[in-house]
Amino acid sequence: MAGLIETRPEGLYCAAGDFHIDPWRPVPRAVITHAHADHARAGHGVIWCARESLGVMHQRLGQAAPIRPLEWREPLTLGRARVSLHPAGHILGSAQVRVEAREGVWVASGDYKRDPDPTCTPFEPVPCDTFITEATFALPVYRWPDPADVVADVFHWWRQAADNGQPAVLFCYALGKAQRVLNGLLAHTGQTVYLHGAMTPLVTVYRAAGVAMVPTEAVSAQSRDHDWRGHLIVAPPSAAGTSWMRRFRGATTGFVSGWMRVRGNRRRRGYDQGFVLSDHADWRGLVDSIRATGCQRVLATHGHSDTLVRYLREHGWQAAELGTPFEGEADG
């Protein structure tokens, strides 16, 4: 399939503009959709990203990273390609990349979601000929419950733990998910939530970007004999099972992820409670978004791209899979 964007060993590449999108090896010119580690790598010559993501991007890539922020929809000319960024609704500052040249209009979605999320600018469908979509949750069993209900469940679980005199440790990804939960909790409480060290800088960056959240304090700032009973602690999944957890004796544990939709995953991970909240689109979100772009051709990447491709072909699209070396469970 001759086109504007192709896969190279370094990542997605646009020859017309001589730049890469979310490259996983150092390149001279990179457009980065968002700050998650499998998309944003350091070491590039120049990086373009959305202004909304500037804080998190510097937090992840270092203050000295050669970043040139772009406003939403601000035109940028690279070679003979016209490039612009459009909101993807995945996390703070996450962008879709629109590329236009004589080959047509291509949009690389990066990761995106359609559910309401006050912590970032919502996804906007961008009309295009070819849409490169993620397919992390591309199976019809993935259908997200109302995020407000899920956060209410988290709050209820925390209250229950307080009634039982237990600490409640909630595991979730440090960038995006944690801030979304902390924002959602405002509807229920003004009580302070405690953060694992990996969370603190990112929560600070989100606050600086104007995202409202419940008050937070670092776990490490509390005294050694702090009584954790009845408190909510938010930590990344990597903290589970480490010695850091020992201080929360008798804690009940929860995990916030789209993967928690499936019972096998809930059981395998061994958390007491699974909460289904994802920063990716569910099955309907994917199909609706693809339809909304008006594209004729779809290239699917990550997760269940085979299912999505077959479905799209049966429904009149041209579709193919786009390989990446990051196959496996992406952050959900």
């Binding site: 019809p140 069993v141 259908r143 109302d146 499936v262 019972r263 096998g264 995953n265 085979d306 077959r310």
Partner: protein, 533 residues
């Protein structure tokens, strides 16, 4: 149904035994007798007969949910459970139809049984209405009932304890009254509430005593003379009851084996009334025959003359639980064994005694154990001479000292996602050995790796896939695993010409390149070595 669906979810969500017990006790206390009986039915691992085949359920579900058949298949492969897949497809977050949700479990079972007899079109329409009308949790439970696959992650022992606590009865008494066949109705709970001296039904078996595996040196157990030692037979465990002029043969799975082994049932008529034996059904012709021959008999409800001649069975008795109508389980193993000798002396060839193996010291026994495979047995059984006959698996009463498994190094060639806890992880492996420069599959193996290793392998499999065939991936032949297995038999159905018994992954041989995995000749040599002449 709501209350049981809630219990199911709560039990599923916790691994703490104490919490599971408390949840069940609460349920039994809250429920009326019929609901308690149905819950007990499922909690003790009993199942409804499968009412509708998975193939038909998939077709109806795909149709009603408006998804293509292949999408339902892909979703099922990912989720790992058909009932859950269907429930997820229909879930729209709504609370469902209150009438359907509040209907009793017993009433649902009756509805489902009646529906299974209806016309195709009627079934399809009714299922669609139920799937749409039930919330996620209840829809999952209903579909589990339809597939006959409802399993709860609690042991029978724990469910029994919970019920005993809720009824304030002795746990052993409840366990015994729950043996054998019973119907899940209010009358069951009434019978369980009855005082201890209320008596039993003629057919009712005793709970089986189970052996604990012995992994350590037997010398730690004391002297061999403290034990009664027998061969561990490779047959099916069974309890033989002779009461009120009748004979009942029960499998360890509490299934009545009536009619399957007529020679044993006929011989049992000669036992004195009020006798209960524990022992093993084996295939026997001038000595024990391989399990495969017994398999032919197990599958046959009413064996014909020819099969009876070709694969004769006998009952090897090794314990006496009831004599003259008296429960003697509290007596010591030695005392019971002495009385067993007296009872069996009067019987025919189809019921004989499992002989004792005598040896002065553990070294001699260890040597005898190594002969197990050539003798057609699985190893040795050590039964403490002074212990009573207890219920379930209690360490220190019975030990099984099995022969070391056979092993072979094989190469991973296909992987498939697992089920339940391992769904959407590639954990089910097909392993192959070399035949010249080709790899020929010899076993499918599941367990044996840690969760961490499984996750690591899952990633590796995804990154080294050659081709996908639906839920199966072929992978580059690079990973070597040592597989352990209990036996090896000739097989025309397998490409390799051999079938392995109970294969499982023993070790991940990360140190070994694929080229150094075993060859088919090695398996054929093993086959020759273990086949009794």
């Amino acid at each position: 149904m709501r209350r049981f669906a809630e219990l199911y979810e709560q039990l599923d969500a916790t691994r703490a035994t104490g919490r599971k017990l408390a949840l069940m006790v609460d349920y039994f206390r809250d429920s009326d007798d019929e609901a308690a009986a149905w819950a007990l039915y499922f909690l003790t691992g009993r199942r409804l007969k499968r009412l509708l085949s998975p193939t038909r359920l998939k077709a109806w579900a795909a149709d009603a949910a408006g998804v293509a058949d292949w999408m339902l298949v892909s979703s099922h492969a990912h989720v790992g459970d058909l009932a859950e897949t269907i429930a997820l497809l229909f879930d729209d977050g709504s609370a469902g139809d209150p009438e359907l949700v509040s209907r009793d479990l017993g009433a649902w079972v009756a509805e489902l049984r009646a529906l299974a007899q209806a016309d195709e079109a009627v079934i399809g329409a009714q299922l669609a209405a139920w799937w749409r009308g039930l919330p996620l949790r209840e829809c999952f439970l209903l579909t589990k009932l339809l597939t006959g696959g409802l399993r709860v992650g609690v042991s029978t022992g724990l469910a029994t304890r919970a019920l005993a606590q809720a009824l304030a009865q002795d746990e052993n008494l409840i366990a015994q009254r729950l043996m054998g066949d019973w119907q899940p109705d209010a009358a069951l709970i009434t019978r369980l509430r009855a005082p201890p001296d209320a008596g039993t039904v003629a057919s009712q078996p005793y709970p089986f005593c189970l052996a604990a595996p012995m992994d350590d040196a037997p010398a730690d157990l004391g002297s061999p003379s403290d034990f009664l030692i027998e061969w561990k037979w490779d047959g099916i465990r069974a309890q033989l009851i002779r009461r009120e002029g009748q004979v009942f043969l029960w499998s360890r799975g509490e299934e009545l084996l009536a009619g399957r082994f007529p020679e044993i049932e006929a011989a049992a008529m000669a036992l004195p009334d009020g006798t209960v034996l524990d022992g093993e059904v084996v295939c026997w012709r001038d000595g024990i025959r391989p399990f495969a021959e017994l398999q032919r008999r197990i599958n046959k409800q009413k064996p014909g003359r020819r099969l009876l001649d070709e694969a004769p069975v006998r009952y090897l008795a090794y314990d006496l639980l009831e004599l003259g109508g008296n429960d003697i389980r509290d007596q010591s193993t030695r005392q019971r064994r002495q009385q067993l000798d007296g009872v069996i002396a009067a019987s025919t060839a189809a019921i004989t005694i499992s002989p004792l193996v005598s040896a002065e010291d553990w070294a001699t026994l260890a040597r005898l154990r190594t002969e197990a495979r050539s003798r057609g047995v699985e190893g040795l059984m050590l039964k403490h001479a002074d212990a009573p006959y207890t219920r379930g698996r209690r360490r220190g009463i019975w030990w099984k000292w099995k022969v070391d498994p056979l092993t072979v190094d094989a190469v991973l060639v296909y992987a498939q996602a697992g089920h339940g806890r391992r769904s959407n992880l590639y954990t089910d492996y097909t392993l192959a050995v070399w035949d010249g420069d080709a790899l020929v599959p010899v076993a499918k193996a599941y367990s044996g790796l840690t969760d961490k290793e499984l996750t690591q392998m899952d990633r590796w499999i995804r990154q080294h896939t050659i081709e996908r065939f639906g839920p199966v991936r072929s992978v580059q032949p690079l990973q070597v695993f040592e597989i352990a297995f209990e036996g090896i038999q000739q097989s025309k159905r397998h490409k390799a010409g051999v079938a392995l018994r109970f294969p499982r992954i023993h070790r991940w041989r990360q140190d070994k390149p694929a080229a150094e995995a075993d060859h088919l000749q090695a398996l054929h040599a093993l086959l020759d070595a273990v086949t009794p002449s």
